[in-house]
Amino acid sequence: MNAIAADGAGDELPARPKVLLVDDDEVNLLLTAVALRDQGFAVTEASSGAAAIRVLTDWLPDIVVLDAVMPGLDGFETCRDRKSVV
């Protein structure tokens, strides 16, 4: 299951929205990234919640697609961590 989070719901998205895609499984990461790129998204990949937090420290995408079930920090914990610093 994936959770999709976007800041400023209702805001216009840019022509090529920046997506941070987070999934611990390489197959799912690869396939979702290919499908999103095919639809015009600029995709940055992260393979764990901790890696996603590192990326988000100094970069803000338009959309974050998070796998909910991951070892270590799961999708919900990753989301809570980011919300606590916004």
Binding site: D24, D25, E26, L30, L31, V34, D38, V69, P71
Partner: protein, 140 residues
């Protein structure tokens, strides 16, 4: 005047796709759908995905075996959850079905016996790997 280069061949609709036959035991419809995502037209996406899938199996199956030996339901559930989705995506449908059943039994706590499902998982995962290896070697 003789031609130094062969003329461009018109694709023969009866020609066999070079990617086929697909790995033994994999669903052709799922793999053709995957290939359609490959906008490069070089057909390498399917190879990359199946190689990644093989890597996932080689990493996750021993994790499940270890979790089973230790009686750790959370470890079994994590492997089942991860492989349920990726197996379905690549057309390893029997494995996806077993993973889905395993995850449901663990999530719902129905008390259904796990051992037959875990045995079926291990046997099917090995069958999938046996189907994948020669195909990936040929595609290398």
């Amino acid at each position: 005047m003789s031609h130094a280069f062969p003329s461009v061949a018109t694709p023969d609709p009866r020609a066999v796709d070079p990617a086929e036959p697909w790995p033994a035991g994999f669903d052709a419809v799922a793999l053709r759908r995957l290939r359609e995502l490959d906008t490069s037209g070089e057909g390498r996406l399917v190879v990359r995905v199946l190689r990644a899938f093989e890597g996932s199996l080689l990493r996750l199956v021993p994790q499940l075996v270890a979790a089973r030996a230790a009686g750790e339901a959370a470890g079994i559930r994590h492997v089942a959850h991860t492989l349920k989705s990726s197996s379905a995506s690549v057309g390893a449908l029997a494995l996806a079905s077993i993973c889905s059943e395993l995850e449901a039994v663990l999530r719902d706590g129905t008390g259904a016996p796990l051992a037959p499902l875990l045995d079926a998982f291990e046997a099917e995962a090995q069958a999938v790997l046996r189907g994948l290896r020669p195909w990936l070697e040929a595609a290398a």
